[in-house]
Symmetry: C2
Subunit: 144 residues, 2 copies
DNA sequence: CCTATAATGAGAATCATTATCAAAACGTTA
DNA sequence: TAACGTTTTGATAATGATTCTCATTATAGG
């Protein structure tokens, strides 16, 4: 298992969350995915091996432990992905047709520019920023 | 009424949508707001003058006409705001506690940088970008 | 191997949103 | 202005994603 895997297990044991079979399967699918997945998408991907109610509970447990992060999309659908501190900072390409989300990582130079930009934007405001995400909307290869 | 108001009415009549009292009230509240509002927030703001069912229908009619745009937030809640072509391009400060969203406009220099950055990012990919939005997450003044 | 605690899964409950449909408002034309 | 066809409205029912409940099962530690 990858480096993040060790950190992930550490975090779970720290927070007293057992890394059970079902949870492992959910995490495994999320690790393989190239973008956040909804409960329905996970259920499909897992071929029903994890029942829907457990799936939702697992996702909220993992979110609370900070190993997974939500992304809110069209139709009131929430998609989850491995948290940034485990999977690395990235941004999203969001399809305005099917709602699918793909991760993109910015070249370091651009990411630095973006961070500087976010800093400038929030310096004056009464809003205390803790993170940022660039969302690019458009049509995915599938929806052309 | 402001310049966008004329464009807005034009667009509605072009698409054969009547600008009725209820719709005017919804648009008026959205115009005044400094960020996107959910159906519940609008209903509160309108002191119940527009019933919930009409509110939702109005929002989807306005969205279809392109005068209003959705923003998807925590808890599966959709907030709407006047479309960018009417209200101007901007970005969002999203409170990770209460979910409130505040608009921010980037200084032209930064916006240009961001646009160039988005261009660079998508040039190679099979994704055809049509828009972008920088979301800054953190805590609003209220939730401190 | 026991026992306390955590996790599971089926189903009911919830909440935002959508659909339905009869009644009311509107614009148009005679 | 009256009458007609169309659009809009609003109360209510239906939907769909998500959360809750609770009895059952699995697990870690002594």
């Amino acid at each position: 298992m990858s480096i993040q895997g060790r950190q992930l297990e550490e975090r779970l044991s720290e927070t007293g969350v057992r890394f059970t079979g079902g949870r492992r399967q959910v995490v495994a699918v999320l690790e393989r995915s190239d973008g956040p997945l909804s409960a329905a998408e996970l259920h499909r991907e897992l071929a029903g091996k994890v029942p829907v109610s457990s799936l939702y509970r697992t996702l909220s447990v993992l979110e609370e432990a900070g190993v997974v992060e939500p992304h809110h999309g069209a139709g009131g659908i929430t998609r989850y992905e491995i948290a940034e501190w485990l999977a690395g900072h990235h941004h999203h390409l969001v399809c305005i047709d099917c709602g699918a989300v793909e991760d993109i990582e910015l070249p370091p130079r651009l990411e630095l520019e973006l961070e500087r930009l976010v800093g400038e934007v929030t310096r004056l405001s009464s809003f205390s920023a803790s993170g940022h995400s660039l969302e690019v909307d458009g049509r995915c290869a599938r929806c052309g």
